[in-house]
């Protein structure tokens, strides 16, 4: 469970967003929408304790984020950013193994239990066949799935992803959202994903956090008012069907378990 209670966030003394209150539950995918520069990444980084909120409280699994030690925070929240990672000499399995860092000793030695979790993370992300592939030779879409596997290996109840589908083609976007849906349904993860792919998010997510004019509005995907509000926020003169992504409310073939609310 992730609870954001009246926080204001920003860099230094310059606030980006003020008085945000929102909630994300286990087993749910929450899509975070907003224009470029609206504060989506800053909000995710604040939840991940990478940026300190100016004011307010963030509760993660019942504990305030500032009461968590660095290690405890890393064991509670994983963050997948937008940075492209290309590390020569590192196999995809090694990259996923980085997620085990909060659970290993000071040398970073992996035990049998860690290796099992890494294998399962690769499997859940559909990347088992890439375990021994050099990480600098995979495509952007494959790398994104590897990074999701890395976040899975971190074994945190809360997963934050910043624009994971930004560089992907249509099948890639379907796959990523399908994986996130599966993780929420089967692993009971609390997932918050910042994205511009509104159509995909509307098809796969449960809730929407919409950043508009410095405010965050929380809505259920199933609410008939949600799409018109998003349309009004992004492009008042355009029809909802023209928003990017597949037709809204398409059946999820990969997740299988998704039902319309």
């Amino acid at each position: 469970m992730l609870e954001i209670d009246d926080i204001s966030i920003g860099y230094g003394k310059r606030p980006v967003l003020c008085h945000i209150t929102a909630k994300a539950r286990p087993g749910e995918v929450t899509a975070l929408f907003g224009k470029n520069g609206s504060g989506k990444s800053t909000l995710l980084k604040s939840v991940a304790s990478l940026v300190k909120p100016v004011s307010g409280t963030i509760r993660i699994c019942g504990r305030t984020s500032d009461s968590l030690s660095r290690k405890e925070a890393a064991r509670t929240v994983s963050f997948t950013g937008t940075e492209k990672i290309r590390i020569p000499g590192l196999e995809c399995r090694d990259l996923v193994a980085m997620g085990r860092a909060p659970w290993t000793d000071w040398t970073g030695r992996l035990r049998a239990h860690d290796r099992k979790i890494i294998g399962r993370a690769l499997e859940l992300a559909g990347m088992s066949d890439f375990a021994s592939v050099p990480s600098d030779s995979v495509s952007d879409g494959e790398m994104q799935k590897i990074l999701i596997a890395r976040a899975l290996a971190q074994d945190t109840p809360v997963m934050l992803l910043d624009e994971p589908t930004a560089f992907l083609d249509v099948p890639g976007k379907y796959q990523i959202f399908g994986i996130l849906r599966k993780l929420a349904d089967k692993e009971r993860k609390t997932i918050v994903v910042a994205t511009h792919d509104i159509g995909y998010a509307m098809a796969y997510a449960d809730n929407i956090w919409l950043i508009d004019n410095g405010r965050v509005t929380c809505m259920a995907v199933s609410d008939p008012e949600t799409l018109p509000r998003i349309r009004a926020a992004f492009n008042p003169g355009q029809d909802a069907a023209s928003l990017s992504g597949p037709p809204v409310h398409t059946e999820d073939t990969e997740a299988g378990t998704r039902t319309e609310g």
Partner: protein, 328 residues
Amino acid sequence: MILYGGILILAAAFAADLLTGSSGIPPSDVWKALAGGEVPEQTRLIVTDIRLCKTLTALLSGTAVSVSGLLMQTLFRNPLAGPYVLGISSGASLGAALCVLGISSSFIAGDSFIGNMGIAGAAWTGAAIILGIIMAAGRKIGDITVILILGMMLGAGIDAAVQILQYLSDEQSLKTYIVWTMGSLGNVSGLQLLILAAAVLAGLMLAAFSCKSLNLLPAGEEYAVSAGTDIGRTRTLVFISTVLLSGTATAFCGPLGFIGLAVPHIVRLVTGTADHRILVPGTALCGGIIMICCDMVTKLTAVPVNAVTSLIGIPVVIRVVIKYRKYA
């Protein structure tokens, strides 16, 4: 397996370097001199006071600059980073130059503990100032190309300052300094060797202690922090380790070009890994081996060690530039 192989190669190179020299001492006499056997006093002096001291200096200085290069490449996420390229060696040189050219030669020539620590301290200070500027700029700017250019410019600026110091200094100090800038493994005294060994040991321990964080840094600071890394502590450990390693090596052996940049890449190529638990000991070993080999070349050809290290390092740098162009 590779590590054991490296230790064997190091032992072989170490022995070969001890046997190499212009005085034509037979291997049996070298062994006797080392084991405390019956040999002429002059032979004993050549083997223990000159050859052994020089080989140990090559081992320690090669290890020091190579590991500091690895730390720089990881910290700045830049394959072309190294103490020489980023101007850290130049900073250490300026510190040492101020000491060598600015203080009376009797203070330096006396080989006192205070005098040697003065040179080392001055080199550490110079290295620390430049590294501090580069790290601060790195955090502010973030662009690795800009950081490299900044390091080169700082290095060039310092070299200009050192030239002014040379112009203003007396003949004896100038001669001492010029020989030092060519890189010299043979002018290190027993006391300096002890200081070098202590600094290298401390620097290596700090590097070893940072291995887990160093493995996470190449994925980016955000990833490292979100995986529980204390980034401030990691930077501090790497900072102190680099200053100790490259500062001390530069103080007593002069600036050793390209070894710090090239050796980590050679080790990555041989081991095929990005794991610092292998890279740190591997780079320490390989740096020692290569510098000992450079020492053998200098003994046989009488060219300055810096010329040899540059000839070894430059092809590696060219290979790295070509290999990493796809990431630019």
